[in-house]
């Protein structure tokens, strides 16, 4: 029995390879498609639970607590900036030309929220106006 | 009671639904570690190296620095013969991306010597076998003694592909 190990790092080899999947194609589910169509019409849709009344944004098929199928689709109103962050580097560490501001936009009386790029004066809690209905949203503080 | 149902789709239907497509960008550098580094260098020299546990006598190919049964470090480097018996062989008509191949690719596992036909575990390699499709179909390749056909020395890079295939002697 022996512990003969090579301690010179350069004598140890490594093998290079890549992630073999070429791409993933994710389906949105029925509620995901309803949400996307809502965005095209300039609306943010949510879905309400028939038992507890909770409104899910983006809409979800079922309520995670009551565990029943959710009911009608409602339009989420009253967007406000819950929190935000300022990003200076991209995901490979390179400096961005112009810092990017990303915020979490919540809606009055609804559960959940959406990400958006934020323009205007940055203050957590301030109401926002939605400039572009996309993923992510583009909003401006009022 | 539940009323929703799931929604199966055919491939053509997928075009009519909005989807999100994404490509992962992961690249990996796997360390060969102690045992496989020596193994790969051995392949470059035209040798198949194994590692022996002196407690139970088992020879590991590909080599391992510890014995999985005795759970102690293995002790010796041994060179096993580049000859062995074909345990199983198959002929593939599909590539790893599920594309159709015109000529079958024949691969299998080889039990290398020293070992006997009664061993449940033995030094073995998974590799290509150079024989005909017929030999695979009628199973005549099973149990035959095969030897490694090495690539010429200049073309060896320290990889399992330094062996071109195993062929009947």
């Amino acid at each position: 029995m022996s512990w003969d190990k090579i301690s010179k790092e350069t004598s140890l080899l490594s093998w290079k390879d890549v992630m073999e999947v070429e791409s993933y194609v994710y389906t949105l589910g029925v509620d995901g498609e309803v949400f996307l169509n809502g965005l095209k019409e300039g609306k943010i849709l949510g879905r309400k639970c028939t038992k507890c009344g909770r409104i899910y944004v983006p809409p979800r098929m079922y309520c995670e607590d009551c565990f029943v199928e959710n009911g009608e689709y409602v339009e989420a109103k009253g967007p406000y900036l819950d929190t935000f962050t300022i990003i200076y580097e991209d995901d490979e560490g390179r400096r961005l030309e112009k810092p990017l501001v990303i915020g979490l936009i919540r809606f009055r009386g609804c559960s959940g929220g959406l990400l958006g790029s934020v323009q205007g004066e940055l203050k957590a809690g301030s109401e926002v106006e939605i400039m572009e209905y996309g993923i992510p949203l583009r909003v401006k503080t009022k | 009671m539940i009323s929703v149902t799931v929604h199966p789709l055919k491939e053509e239907d997928l075009k009519r639904h909005p989807v999100v497509e994404d490509k992962p960008k992961a690249r990996y550098s796997y360390t060969a570690g102690q045992a496989l580094s020596v193994f790969l260098n051995g392949l470059k020299e035209g040798k198949i190296l194994g590692r022996k546990c002196t407690k139970c006598g088992r020879i590991y190919v590909p080599p391992r620095m510890y014995c999985e049964d005795c759970f102690v470090p293995t002790s010796l480097w041994v060179e096993v013969k580049d000859e062995g018996v074909v345990m199983t062989a198959v002929a593939s008509f599909i590539s790893w991306t599920r594309e159709r191949l015109d000529h079958p690719e024949i691969v299998g596992t080889i039990r290398l010597f020293p070992s006997t036909a009664r061993d449940y575990v033995y030094p073995g390699l998974f590799h290509r076998i150079c024989c005909s499709y017929e030999d695979v179909r009628n199973m005549t390749i099973f149990g035959k003694i095969v030897k490694a056909r090495w690539k010429p020395r200049e073309e060896r890079t320290g990889s399992i592909n330094d062996i071109e295939c195993f062929e009947v002697v």
Binding site: T27 | I2, V6, H7, V90, S92, W96, Y120, L125
Partner: protein, 391 residues
């Protein structure tokens, strides 16, 4: 001879699943929710009654989502509850049930929801390409293998050592697809003949297209509760009497492939717990894992329901048919119903549960059943899980 006196008794009181199909529009969480909802409905419970959740889901790389088990949380009732994820490749389905079992058997939880889900359709170019990293990166991947190669190698070795012909093996595919006709959740139920199997596309000789189970999306769920409250919810609780699981190494090129020793180990563990001394005499119905037709024979031998090399003979004699001595895969198995990796094993467990309860509908076997076994297998010829249930 029972040896499980230290564990609390555990009973299954509800189960549910989605149909298995090649690709679904629904998201993974929606699939999990549908199966979970059905299971809770059959059990007569609401989510707030469940105290622990177990989620089984196979490689994250299939769905393309990190921590795929936890991702299902809100669809599997796993919000603000203790949740465990299990993953042992294809053996996950039965492992999910086993994990739920020990949550209850230990006394930690009273009522557990076990959910298994898989969505294999997002990967491109083909879900099989996702399997590429199952191989050892240095000694196996450079040969550009396709996953089917390893099954073909094992199948050919099994055929060679036991002198089995392709015709005998094809009988399994014919039987399972025929059984699947009675299963409303199945993807590929139908009547095929041995000839159809032998004429189908040769993928990797000896594996042909009709020898293989399909790629699928789907989910399944089960509710397990402590024995002392089971009869509040049902007159026919189905008791989990034995569990077993074993792992082997990934050095399959250095191992005899014709016999799965790791499965025998798991089966003996489960049988000992259940007090089964003569499996062939004491087991009434079995669901062995059948991603390929030869695998069912391979596993029937590992489960000690046939002597080594004897399974093909018994299959030919009709011993394992739906009206035979020990019906095997009455649900139609993976070959008939579909193979969403993690959900498939749990589907098999649910099939035994329904057989023992007498609610299997068109799939119900004619003889009366008292003891049933479900088994799953996973990874590179490594892992096997076994569960024994009685009514």
């Amino acid at each position: 001879m029972r040896t499980n006196l230290r564990f609390r008794p555990v009973a299954v009181i509800g189960a549910g699943m989605t149909p298995f199909r090649r690709r679904m529009l629904d998201t993974p969480q929606e699939l999990a929710w549908e199966a979970s909802r059905r299971a809770l409905d059959e059990a007569g419970l609401e989510l707030r009654d469940v105290d622990c959740v177990v989620i089984g889901s196979a490689p994250d790389a299939f769905d393309g989502v990190h921590m795929k088990g936890e991702y299902l949380a809100h669809g599997a009732g796993g919000v603000r509850k203790p949740v465990s994820r299990v993953y042992v490749g294809g053996a996950t389905g039965v492992m999910t049930a086993i994990s739920a079992w020990y949550h209850v058997a230990s006394g930690l939880c009273q009522k557990v929801l076990a959910v298994a889900e898989e969505k294999m359709s997002p990967g491109r170019p083909h879900p099989q390409s996702v399997f590429r990293y199952i191989w050892d990166p240095i000694t196996e991947k450079p040969l550009n293998p396709n996953l089917i190669w390893i099954f073909a190698m094992e199948m050919h070795r099994y055929m060679n050592v036991n002198r089995v012909s392709k015709e005998d093996i094809a009988l399994v595919s014919v039987k399972n697809k025929r059984n699947a006709k009675k299963n409303q959740y199945s993807q590929l139920g139908g009547d095929i003949t041995v000839d159809d199997v032998l004429k189908s596309e040769v993928l990797v000789w000896p594996v042909q297209l009709l020898d293989v189970s399909p790629v699928s999306d789907g989910a399944a769920a089960m509710v397990l509760v402590s024995g002392d409250i089971a009869r509040r919810y049902t007159d026919t609780p189905i008791w989990v009497e034995g569990v077993g699981w074993t792992l082997d190494n990934t050095s399959w090129p250095g191992r005899e492939l014709a016999y799965p020793r790791y499965l025998e180990n798991a089966a003996r563990m489960a049988y000992k717990m259940a007090g089964i001394e003569r499996p062939q005499k004491e087991i009434d119905v079995v669901e062995p894992y059948d991603p390929f037709d030869y695998k069912e024979l391979h596993h029937l031998e590992g489960l000690l329901l046939a002597k080594k090399g004897e399974a093909p003979t018994l299959m030919r004699e009709g011993f394992f048919d739906v009206d035979g001595e020990i019906p095997s895969s009455p649900s139609g198995g993976l070959l008939g119903v579909g193979n969403p990796i993690a959900a498939a094993g749990l589907m098999k467990t649910i099939s035994i549960y329904w057989q023992l309860k007498g609610t299997a509908g068109g799939m119900q076997v004619k003889k009366s059943v008292h003891t049933g076994v479900a088994q799953a297998w996973g990874d590179l010829m490594q892992a096997s899980t076994v569960i024994v249930m009685r009514n």
